[in-house]
């Protein structure tokens, strides 16, 4: 049993999304270019089996396979599952069947979808044919879906050289993962305190080190931390770099200083930008304090306090 999530703990959606690119290699290139030309290609193994979709290496012998064959756009459903509620980016918007289809001439089945009015209209062994997309691009979605048909098995695969004009050699495969993220109890306390412009860490009951930001456990001793300790607001620059390369997603003018800052009372440094001083005058040991802006969750940057620099020995263990 796990405890129900505390209503006091922060939660937020986290979307991880990226348009990955794929270099196809010779076999997948021929397969996807073929789909664009409304031709389904498979590969023939040394044992004579025809694999659709094709693979580059024989799953039994590991030998490289390059013998392409063309199979029919008709086939037989080998198994299926009904999907009553299609989700975003699935091939059909109306309820459909996920199907494995053994195309005529192939020895293996292809995963796709079947457009059918309901589960009663689907059965293993039923005959289906490809419904091609109106605007093919050289992707598996060039098969819009399968649909029922009455045509008999049209027989064997025919050799194909796999050559087409303007072959597809790469594709983009957008990926998206939707999470609900919660940082947990200790970071929630830390973030809530930041809203009051206070920095609150947690002390390990064993080694007495103060962790900022707190994770709720000491990574060295492996035990829970609970004692809250306010640190800062002032601190010491322990080390830094001068950033001259503008990051795509950051609206900060270069050059600027990115520093590790040990807040007074904390036993390890956190990271922040240094402002209020020319970038080439920042130094290790510089004493700084946070500068907040309206609505910011974190300090916008840290600026010099005007105090004398900290002695190296005072912070060298915190670097």
């Amino acid at each position: 049993m796990t405890a129900a999530p505390s209503p006091d703990v922060l939660r937020a959606p986290l979307v991880v999304e990226f348009p990955f690119t794929r270099s196809l290699g010779p076999v997948q290139s021929a397969f996807l270019t073929g789909l664009r030309e409304r031709t389904v290609l498979g590969v023939k193994t040394a044992g004579g089996g025809v694999l659709v979709p094709p693979v580059e290496y024989d799953p039994v012998t590991a030998e490289e396979i390059r013998d392409l064959v063309e199979v029919a756009p008709t086939g037989t459903v080998t198994t299926w599952a009904w999907n009553p509620a299609p989700r975003r980016d699935q091939p059909l918007r109306t309820p459909f069947a996920w199907v494995l289809v053994k195309l005529d001439g192939a020895a293996t089945a292809l995963l796709h979808v079947l457009d059918a009015p309901g589960p009663d209209a689907v059965r293993t062994g039923m005959r289906v044919r490809i419904r091609w997309a109106a605007e093919p691009t050289g992707a598996i979605t060039d098969i819009a879906c399968f649909e029922p048909c009455e045509r008999e098995d049209s027989g064997a695969a025919a050799p194909h050289d796999g050559r087409f004009a303007d072959p597809v050699t790469g594709i983009t495969t957008p990926a998206r993962l939707d999470y609900t993220y919660s940082p947990g109890r200790a970071p929630t306390d830390y973030i809530n305190a930041l809203a009051e412009r206070r920095t609150v860490g947690e002390r390990c009951p064993s080694c007495r080190k103060v962790y900022v930001p707190p994770r709720g456990a000491c990574p060295t001793c492996g035990i829970a931390t609970a004692e809250r300790v306010e640190v800062g607001p002032r601190g010491t620059v322990t080390t830094f770099c001068i950033v001259n390369l503008k990051a795509r997603n950051l609206d900060i003018e270069v050059p600027y200083v990115y520093a590790h800052i040990a807040l007074d009372g904390a036993d390890l440094a956190l990271h922040g930008r240094i402002g209020g001083i020319p970038y080439d005058q920042v130094r290790m040991g510089l004493r700084v304090e946070p500068v907040w802006t309206e609505g910011g969750r974190y300090p916008d940057h840290y600026r010099p306090t005007g105090e004398p620099d900290a002695d190296y020995d005072a912070y060298k263990e915190l670097i």
């Binding site: 937020a12 693979v55 390369l245």
Partner: protein, 393 residues
């Protein structure tokens, strides 16, 4: 079986294969890329797929290509059908720890001959994106790829008093070494020290020419025991010691300049190999140097120099290809960085040195070489020491 088998089986590297590392291999799929390295390793060992008992594969985070559990898809390409296949994942050190997991299967006599392989096809994604997902409530990383490393380098410079030219000396050396390695990604034929020193300062104190490239590549090795080594067509490299250590990325007292996990890992390897003076007893080192300054830092961390003294070895030419402790004769990570494969390339290049098969970047008379990998914000370390002779016993 006749009699009782006791003790550990010695491990021999009998096959090594790499792809020519480049920025983008648009002509092959990921399967085609790993196959190329694996086939070359098999050819080197004069083995076929049937001679392989198990496959151990590694790569960096799945987000780097967006293929979840790529080992499932790669089973066909690596002839793993009907055999055990394992995936290892320890961030940037993964190439090293993958080889060690494979070696342990031989040591323990679980398998007779193991194919181990690591890869990255960085052109299919963006590693920096993969490492900096926008986690809610967290402060975004303000500094980009090199911004994580540059402050630690500054801390090293402060601690050691090293002159600020040392980083450029390393980069100039590694890029020249890469010219002798046909598999290296960067071949900068017109490189000069002045060009390195004139390259843009990206994350002061790190210049552009002191950073690693982003590469597509794979590296494979065939590991076997005594019997397999006796049948091998070329001299094997023998594993004399191997170890992994880890520590949290962040904890109070963490020493990013010389992490304890790295020191302990090296000490363990030397103990296994009977090495008491690494500086004198080791002939070549392939260490994971993603930014040039990590060479002097790791020279200290791995026990080749006292604390604060590593830069003196670099500056005086000791780590040059013709110096008495050549470091990264292959050109290193600074010249080739398919992230997941980079650690295994270090291990494989160390093995090539003691097999006498490193070609133009061969260190004369290399009998013992160290391969080193690290990753995950100085969280994971893996190393092995290989030699020309079988280990004693």
């Amino acid at each position: 079986m006749s009699g009782t088998v006791t003790g550990k089986e010695p491990v021999a590297v009998v096959g090594i294969g790499q792809t020519k590392h480049v920025a983008a291999r648009r002509d092959v799929s990921i399967a085609g890329l790993v196959r190329e390295a694996a086939q070359r390793a098999l050819d080197d060992a004069q083995l076929t797929w049937a001679g392989i008992d198990a496959v151990v594969i590694g790569k960096a985070p799945d987000f780097f290509e967006g293929v979840m559990m790529p080992e499932l898809y790669l089973a066909d390409a690596l002839g793993a059908v009907g055999k055990p296949m394992l995936r290892v994942h320890t961030a940037g050190s993964v190439g090293g720890s993958t080889a060690l997991v494979a070696a342990n299967l031989i040591t323990a006599r679980v398998h007779g001959t193991v194919l181990t392989l690591a890869f990255e096809k960085q052109s299919e994604s963006n590693a920096m994106w993969g490492l900096s997902l926008p986690v809610p409530f967290q402060q975004p990383l303000l500094a980009g790829a090199g911004g994580f490393f540059a402050p630690h380098i500054r801390a090293y410079m402060r601690r050691s008093g090293a002159p600020d030219t040392v980083g450029s000396v390393v980069a100039y050396k590694d890029r020249r070494n890469a010219l002798k390695n046909p598999y290296a990604h960067l071949h900068e034929h017109d490189i000069t020290l002045e060009k390195v020193q004139a390259s843009p300062m990206l994350w002061d104190p790190v210049r552009y020419s002191e950073t690693c490239p982003s590469s597509d590549g794979a590296c494979a090795m065939i590991l076997t025991g005594r019997t397999g080594a006796a049948r091998a067509p070329h001299p094997p490299a023998w594993v004399h010691g191997g170890a992994m250590r880890s520590e949290p990325t962040l904890f109070a007292g963490k020493d990013f300049v010389s992490p304890r996990a790295g020191r302990d890992c090296a000490a363990d390897v030397y103990r296994q190999a009977g090495i008491t003076d690494p500086r004198r007893e080791i002939d070549a080192v392939e260490m994971y140097v993603p930014f040039s300054w990590y060479e002097p830092m790791w020279l200290e961390n791995l026990g080749f120099a006292a604390e604060g003294e590593g830069w003196k070895l670099t500056e005086s030419g000791v780590t040059e290809l013709d110096g008495d402790l050549p470091v990264n004769p292959s050109g290193g990570v600074l010249s080739t960085n398919p992230i997941g494969a980079s650690g295994m390339i270090r291990f494989a290049e160390a093995a090539l040195q003691v097999r006498g098969q490193a070609g133009e970047h061969q260190v004369d008379g290399a009998r013992r070489a160290l391969g080193h990998a690290y990753g995950g914000g100085a969280q994971f370390f893996s190393m092995w020491l290989v030699g020309t002779e079988p280990p004693p016993g």
